[in-house]
Symmetry: C2
Subunit: 192 residues, 2 copies
DNA sequence: TATGTTATATAACAAACGTTATATAACATA
DNA sequence: TATGTTATATAACGTTTGTTATATAACATA
């Protein structure tokens, strides 16, 4: 074998992630990573074939961070938990959020489509959503996802005042959820 | 004076806009513009101090295009007109929409803050919104802006199927508007 | 016609980029 | 100890970028 490894794959991804967190994914360069590591570019090319391969790894890391946030939120309501996680990610990693949401990368699309049926299942367990058909649940879910996305983008863009806490945004989110559900409930009973 | 002007300021901005429309603002380069004009970079530097100055002009052009779309929508309801304009811009200029919305440029913020009081005024004229206090109108407006932004981002990201027309998205938007207004109306009458 | 101005073309510069060739040195193994 | 392997550093290559120095040519004016 050769000499001891001073710069492992994970450290390299860490450094690249730190750069992306502040400057955005597109501003990752080999030399910046090397500078942050205190090395040359050589260790990077030993661990990754080229920049594209490393970027793939960075995106995987970003997604895992966002899922880590999601796993930390578990106050019972899967809806609001997801909303809180999304808002946290948008606020704590605003640059990455915009990089991820505003480019159409297949990761997000795949992830979304995988989550949808699962969310519908969760909604069917929710007593507050009892009596709704699957199609109605889908409509409610769509509206909520739209609202959550808009709120997250606004948060990431710093459109809310500085002392605006996540809880304040969560209040808006759940208020909108109530609006949607209440309205759906009413238009349902109207035809009964 | 000198020789005839072959490449005027507007043509240069046009060329840069075309590039930005397809490749994004960050992919504008002096040489690409020159190629599109069929010139060298010299005419560009005669008309603009540097790339930054030209980019400012391009952003102004982009905003004017989006306002052009808004002025074309005037079916009566300022709310839905704005929503339709936003959706059209997001769909017809998806790259530019993401460039504009996902960077926090002061233009959008200024524009937003200028429009808000005007929108509130418009809402006060709306018979459907009669009886609401200004604070309640502000809450309704915020929710609608959030929803409209989320829907526009989704549209720009191509998250809806190809045969999804603007009218389909408008239906969702106005349905959400009804949800919000109806719910606000109900929680108002509850305490009367 | 001669002169000054300026729109344009060309070519070069420096900087930053991804990538790679080369050298060095550390480690495992024979 | 000698050898092969490999992690790392250095430096260079080619490309692309913004910018600029220089030359040319067209036009207005004296």
């Amino acid at each position: 074998m050769g000499p001891k490894i001073k710069f492992a794959k994970d450290q390299i991804i860490d450094a690249a992630f730190e750069i992306a967190k502040i400057e955005g994914i597109d501003n990752i360069t080999m030399r910046k990573i090397a500078d942050k590591l205190g090395s040359s570019v050589a260790p990077i090319y030993v661990n990754f074939k080229n920049l594209d391969e490393l970027m793939e790894a960075v995106i995987v890391r970003i997604i895992s961070v966002s899922q880590q946030l999601l796993s930390e939120e578990s106050q019972g309501d899967p809806f609001l938990d997801m909303g809180r996680a999304s808002l946290r990610f948008a606020m704590e990693y605003s640059v990455l959020f915009r990089d991820l949401v505003l480019k159409d990368n297949h990761y997000m699309k795949d992830y979304d489509e995988k989550m949808l049926p699962e969310l519908i299942k969760e909604m069917q367990k929710d007593p507050e959503l009892e009596g709704f058909a699957v199609d109605e649940l889908k409509t409610i879910l769509l509206k909520m996802r739209v609202f959550q996305l808009g709120l997250s983008v606004m948060a990431a863009n710093g459109l809310f005042s500085k002392d605006c806490k996540i809880q304040d945004l969560m209040d808006i989110l759940s208020s909108a959820a109530n609006d949607v559900i209440l309205s759906a409930r009413l238009s349902k009973s109207k035809f009964k």
